[in-house]
Subunit: 351 residues, 2 copies
C-alpha cells in the first residue's frame, strides 16, 4: 500500500510555486457539500449550515517530530493528517476539510513531494475530508508541514475537556504505548544501520508497534459508535502526549480529581514483550509515551451498561472531587500522585 | 508603538510547551460571539450561523520570508496576521478568528516570543479577530510561523476570482511597489552595516516604504466601503505576489483577457524617487514587487459612477474577451504581453 517509488528526480525549480500546487493538487476530489470552494482562490469557502464548526492545527518539523531516515514521505503525509483529525474526533465532531502547508528545501525532488501528497490524499480519501487550501514555500533547512483541520458537529453533540463529574468513569479506546515503543525500535535499528549498513533487521516481531508509529489511525469509528450506543461523554480528549498528561488536562479543565488503576491500562502483548526486551516499565510507557491517537473520555456511571463488554473501550479509573487529587493506584495497591510526563519531558530526560 | 524591549532573557525551557502557550496567550481576549470556545481544548468551536465560512493559511519561514536582522519580532507577528486577513478581505468577507502556530530554536528567549505575540495580539485587537488556537514547537533551525485565518460572509456577498466579465473595469486600492522598495532599502542598509557597523543611516526619506514593508495593513476598510457604495465586485484578489501575477490569476479563473494601462498604475512619489535612486523601472516594481496587500477587483462599467473620484480606488484597465489576450499598454502606447513576474521570479533573477 505504501511503496516508495522515487526513481526519477524532477527539480522543484521546474515548477513555479503555483505550478507546483496545481501539479500536486490536481487529483484531489471534493467530497463534502459543505465545501463550496476548495483550492484556487484567496480562501476556501465553506458552509457549516446550522452546525458548530471546529478548527485545530498542528505543525510538524523535521528533526523534531519526524526523522526521514525511517519515516517514508507517504506515511508522513498520512500521519500529519491523522494528528489533526484525531483532535476533531476528540470534540465528538466530524472532520470535513483540511488545509496543508509545507516548506521544503531544494534537495527534495518533485517526486518526493508527490509521495508526501499521496499520503495526504490517501488520508483524505479514507477519512472523507476535502483538501481546501494550503501554502508551499522553500525552506532553509528541513521539511515543515502545517495542517489545519475543520469539522462540524451539532451544538448538543460537542464534547469539551471540561465536563467531567465526580464518580464519572474514565474510559480509553484501543491500547496504549505501542507507537512510542515502535519509535524506540526504529531508533535502535537506525543506530545498528549506522554501524553496519549491511545488516538486515528482522522487524517482523515489531510490525504492530512500527505501524502504530508510522501509520497511526485516528478513531473515526468512536463518535458514531458512542452515538449508536446512546452515550454522550461528559468530557473527551485525544491521546497525543501520553495518558497521564491527557488525564491531567481533563482534571484541570473539569476541576476534578481522578483515580487511575494501573492494572486496567490496556497494553498490547507486543508492547509488554518489547518493554521487557528494552528493560523499561510498560506502565511508564503507557502513561508517558504518547502518539497513541486513541480517545480518552469520561461517562456517567449510569452509562456503564451501554459500553460494558465492548472491545473498543476499557474503563481505567474514575473521577473524584478536585480536593481528592489525582492518583495512580498501582498493582501493589499503592496510591501515588499522577504527574504529567509527556513525550517532551521524556525526550528531555533521555537527552 | 513598536518599541522592542528585550532586556531580560528567560530560557524557553523554564516553561513546558503547555506553560509557554498559557503564558503567551493569557492576555488574549475573545471579541466575537461566533467564538464559542477558543484556546484550551482539542479544537476551537465556532458558530458561523447562516453565513459562509472562509479559511486561508500562510506559512512564513525565517530566511525565506523574513530577515530578523531588520524585522522586529513584534512587526513580524503583526505582518503574519495581516498576510492572512488580506486574503479574507479579498473574498469580501470579515475575518473572525485566527490560529497561530510557531516553531523556534532554543536561541530565542521567552521575551522574544512575547514580542512576537505582542504583534499578533495588536493585530488581533485592531482587526477584531480572536486567536483561537495554535501549536508551539522547537525548531532545528530558524523561526517558522503558520497562521490560519477564518472569516465569514453572507452567501450573496462572497466574491471569487472567477467572476470578471468583458468590459468590466479593473480597479486597485492604494498604491503599489512601496513594500518591495522598502525591502530594497533595508537590504542596502544591511550591507552597509556589515561593512561599517558604526554607520548611522538616514532612513527618514524612506519612512513610508519601510513601513509598507515592515508593518503592512490589510484593507479592512474596503469591503464595508464597497457595501456602502452599493458596489459588488465581479471578481477580487489581494496583491501579495505583484500586480501582474494577480491580474493573470483573475484572467485565468474568469477566462477573460485584459488591458492594463501603465500610466494609470498608482505609485507613491516616494516609490518614484527611490526607483530613480536605485535606477530601476517603477512600473516593473509595481507589476512584480509584491507584498502590497492592496485589493485588486473588477466592477461592471455601470458601477463606475459610484467609485469615481474616491481616493481609495484607481481604475487601471479593463477586462476583455479571453481570445483578445492579456496586455500592458505602455505610456508610449505600445501593446506588450502581460507576463507573470512575481516576487519569486524576481528573486531568482537577482540571485
Amino acid at each position: 500500500m505504501f511503496e516508495n517509488s522515487q526513481e526519477s528526480r524532477t527539480s522543484l525549480s521546474e515548477y513555479g510555486e503555483f505550478g507546483l500546487i496545481d501539479h500536486l493538487t490536481k487529483n484531489l476530489k471534493i467530497n463534502h457539500e459543505s465545501t463550496i470552494k476548495g483550492i484556487g482562490d484567496d480562501a476556501a469557502v465553506l458552509d457549516f449550515k446550522d452546525e458548530r464548526a471546529v478548527v485545530t492545527t498542528d505543525l510538524l518539523i523535521e528533526g523534531v517530530h519526524f526523522d526521514l531516515s525511517y519515516m517514508p514521505l507517504k506515511h508522513l503525509g498520512y500521519k500529519a493528517v491523522m494528528v489533526n483529525l484525531s483532535d476533531v474526533y476528540a470534540m465528538n465532531a466530524t472532520p470535513k476539510q483540511i488545509t496543508v502547508s509545507f516548506a521544503v528545501s531544494n534537495r527534495f525532488p518533485v517526486e518526493a513531494l508527490e509521495e508526501l501528497y499521496a499520503g495526504i490524499q490517501l488520508a483524505a480519501d479514507l477519512y472523507k475530508v476535502d483538501v481546501v487550501g494550503g501554502d508551499t514555500s522553500s525552506s532553509t533547512s528541513g521539511l515543515i508541514i502545517s495542517v489545519t483541520a475543520l469539522g462540524s458537529a451539532k451544538e448538543e453533540d460537542v464534547v469539551y475537556r471540561s465536563g467531567a463529574q465526580p464518580n464519572d468513569l474514565l474510559v480509553v479506546t484501543g491500547d496504549l504505548g505501542a507507537a512510542y515503543m515502535g519509535l524506540q525500535v526504529l531508533e535502535r535499528e537506525k543506530e545498528v544501520f549506522k554501524v553496519n549498513p549491511q545488516s538486515q533487521p528482522d522487524l517482523e516481531p515489531y510490525t504492530y508497534l512500527i505501524e502504530r508509529q508510522l501509520k497511526p489511525e485516528a478513531r473515526k469509528d468512536i463518535p458514531p459508535l458512542l452515538k449508536a450506543l446512546d452515550v454522550k461523554p461528559t468530557s473527551m480528549i485525544d491521546i497525543s502526549d501520553g495518558l497521564s498528561s491527557e488525564i491531567i488536562h481533563i482534571c484541570k479543565k473539569s476541576e476534578k480529581g481522578v483515580y487511575l488503576y494501573e492494572e486496567k491500562i490496556p497494553l498490547d502483548p507486543a508492547v509488554i514483550s518489547v518493554c521487557e526486551e528494552f528493560k523499561i516499565d510498560s506502565t511508564t510507557i503507557a502513561l508517558s509515551g504518547g502518539e497513541d491517537y486513541e480517545l480518552l473520555f469520561t461517562i456517567a456511571q449510569s452509562d456503564f451498561e451501554k459500553i460494558k463488554g465492548n472491545p473498543n473501550f476499557t474503563v481505567i479509573g474514575h473521577m473524584a472531587e478536585e480536593k481528592e487529587g489525582m492518583h495512580l493506584i498501582t498493582r501493589a495497591n499503592q496510591k501515588i500522585p499522577l504527574i504529567a510526563r509527556g513525550w517532551n519531558a521524556m525526550k528531555e530526560k533521555e537527552d
